[in-house]
């Protein structure tokens, strides 16, 4: 297990290096410069600025310099925000994003699993049909449309919850719901299919033939086996949540990393773009690693195969 994780971390680092390199060169292709009101600056001032941030050197040299600093854990300083370090910006901004993402994952997965299980146990009844309708809507309606609708009806018309901002627990409800809809829909659809598949398996008949109660058959024998394939979609769901937060944070004015990422691209704030990209990539790769470890926890067949390696 330790060796497995060690190997995975090594691959993770390589992946990150590739992502960092690609982002660096793509970023250099962006039009414009990182400095505001550049036309008002004199040629001398410009040269000084470029020299200060090392932008006067050829791109490959800049790239190697950046990697060198990165290896030491130095993400550089922001061009826009009074030379604050990128690390500070990320640590300040990550809180709301992480809270939002985790809340949406937990709420979405729990509701999704519950809906999927109920739909499978009551397959081809009105409960099942309604779950299918909700799932199809949840997957096909983009989260920002749903966010807008929630803001208008729940926030503006009914005045039950605040429309935007990020101040107390009541501010979390709408953005979390908007993000969770897709998770609910995906998980519910998957879980329903897998539950039906597992319920048709021979070992469920064996379990029933032992005379154990139906609820035990469902909880102990069916759900666990149905969960194995569902874990697979948690990876893609994580991507969706990460890109989802970018938009949802903008709509609900959540002071998270997503909105910072978007504005840094608009302003050509190179070190912040690099920093947030690497941060998001790391988060994503770690989620995938966790998913792989989860597999082993749920499925003993995979656990043993990994152990023998």
């Amino acid at each position: 297990m330790v060796r497995f994780i060690g190997k995975r971390i090594f691959y993770m680092l390589i992946t990150l290096l590739v992502i960092a390199s690609f982002t660096f060169f793509l970023m250099k292709l962006l039009p414009g410069t990182p400095f505001n009101n550049e036309e008002k600056l004199t040629a001398e001032q410009k040269t000084m600025l470029y020299q200060k941030y090392g932008l006067d050197k050829p791109v490959p040299v800049q790239y190697l310099n950046y990697l060198g600093k990165l290896a030491k854990g130095d993400f550089g300083v922001s061009f826009q925000q009074d030379n604050r370090s990128v690390t500070t910006i990320i640590t300040e901004r990550i809180g709301p994003s992480a809270v939002l993402g985790i809340e949406a994952t937990i709420v979405g997965t729990i509701i999704g699993l519950f809906m999927g299980i109920i739909a499978a146990l009551r397959s081809n009844t009105w409960i099942d049909y309604w779950t299918s309708i909700v799932a199809v809507l949840g997957i096909s309606i983009p989260s920002f449309v749903f966010a807008g609708a929630l803001q208008y009806f729940v926030g503006v018309k009914l005045r039950w919850l605040p429309v935007a901002q990020w101040e107390g627990p009541e501010y979390h409800v709408l953005p979390t719901l908007s993000l969770a809809v897709f998770v609910v829909a995906t998980v519910a659809r998957f879980m329903r299919t897998e539950m039906l598949e597992v319920l048709g398996q021979d070992y469920i008949t064996t379990a029933k033939s032992k005379g154990i109660a139906n609820s035990v058959v469902v909880m102990k024998h069916t759900v666990r086996n149905a969960l194995i394939p569902v874990v697979t979609i948690l990876g893609p769901l994580a991507v969706n949540l990460i890109t989802g937060t970018l938009i949802i944070e903008q709509i609900f004015a959540v002071p998270g990393l997503g909105s910072q990422f978007v504005s840094s691209i608009q302003q050509n704030d190179f070190p912040v773009i690099m920093g947030t990209t690497i941060f998001y990539s790391t988060a994503f790769i770690i989620v995938i690693l966790i998913v792989d470890i989860l597999y082993g926890v749920i499925d003993p067949r995979i656990r043993v195969a990994g152990g023998k390696e």
Binding site: D202, S209, V304
Partner: protein
């Protein structure tokens, strides 16, 4: 001998999009204490459905016991509530399934799978149940049971898994064990081992066995009585000797004739021509009439009643009527030599 299970006029239907499939039509079987009965027949003859009906394991939404009684020690299982049935399943009547590769839960240790029934029916503590599970594994000849009890099904071979399935079925000392093609999915050497084990265990525990199979070789090995099923009905029933050495129904003849024989090296394998009847529209008369070489007009028009040939031997065939022509069983259906 004490009668333990008596199935009377059992009718089971499945509701499908195409209509009602009458899978089992008026089956009568009985089982005495400690006895072993084989139910033979080809795929779709209703033998598995009959066994699942006894266990009440048929899908609730799509199937229905239309008529008949399943008397187990005087209780009619067909009328019990699910909760009452749970108490009987696994403790009084249990079942072994066809495919050991799929009939164990892949994410649960085999120990836990054996213990589940024990804890439910006998209220054992975890420790006691585990000890009993280890003993059961020993009983079915699994080496190192103390270690194996904590392993998962994928760490067992097919034959080993079937032993585990048998251990699960025998956990609570059931009075009736239904084995639904227990050796079909295993290779031949393992088949013999499993059959030996089952015979051995029957002697030790005195459990009555209903063996569902299409393999007549297995029947001769394990069972005292045989019921031959075709088209959802029982066409012939008797002791194993009666059915093997004095078969009366043309379908039984066909089955016996189609058994490959070791001495018939160059002969073709015999098959019964035709296909089983469509149970969406079951025939009015004898279900075998369409494939029977001796079929008469009456066979397609009227269902034959069971004719008593001895106190144990019955066959449902119009040839046994006194007005019918005398027909001898074909050469190939004669099982050579007395046992």
């Amino acid at each position: 001998m004490k009668r333990i299970l008596d199935v009377k006029n059992l009718n089971v239907s499945f509701h499908t999009f195409a209509g009602e499939v009458k899978a089992v039509r008026g089956v009568n079987i009985h089982l005495d204490k400690g006895e072993s009965l084989a139910v033979v027949g080809e795929s779709g003859s209703g033998k598995s459905v009959t066994s699942k009906a006894i266990m009440r394991l048929l899908p609730e939404k799509t199937s229905e016991i239309k008529e008949g009684q399943i008397l187990f020690e005087g209780k009619d299982l067909a009328r019990l509530s699910n909760r009452e049935m749970e108490k009987i399943r696994g403790s009084e009547i249990s079942m072994i399934f066809q495919d050991p590769m799929t009939s164990l839960n892949p994410t649960m240790t085999i120990g836990k799978q054996i213990m589940e029934g024990l804890r439910k029916h006998q209220n054992l503590s975890k420790q006691e149940a585990k000890e009993r599970a280890i003993n059961l594994l020993k009983l079915v000849n699994i080496p190192n049971p103390e270690l194996r009890v904590n392993e998962y099904p994928h760490q067992f071979s097919g034959g080993m898994r079937q032993r585990v399935v048998i251990a699960i079925a025998l956990a609570c000392n059931p009075k009736v064990l239904i084995a639904d093609e227990p050796t079909t999915a295993l290779d031949v050497t393992i088949q013999a081992q499993i059959l030996d084990l089952m015979r051995d265990l029957q002697e030790k525990t005195g459990t009555a066995i209903i063996l569902i199979t299409h393999d007549l070789g297995v029947v001769a090995n394990l069972s005292q009585r045989v019921a031959v099923m075709y088209g959802g009905t029982i066409v012939e029933t008797g002791t194993t000797d009666e059915v093997f050495y004095n078969p009366k129904h043309p379908y039984t003849w066909g089955l016996l004739a189609s058994m490959p024989k070791l001495d018939a090296k160059d002969k073709e394998l015999l098959a019964i021509p035709g296909t089983p009847p469509n149970l969406l529209k079951p025939p009015v008369g004898c279900p075998f009439a369409a494939r029977c070489p001796h079929a008469m007009q009456v066979c397609t028009d009227h269902m034959p009643d069971a004719t008593e040939l001895s106190s144990t031997h019955q066959a449902a065939c119009w040839l046994l009527d006194e007005r019918a022509p005398k027909v001898e069983p074909p050469e190939a259906a004669v099982v050579g030599g007395a046992r």
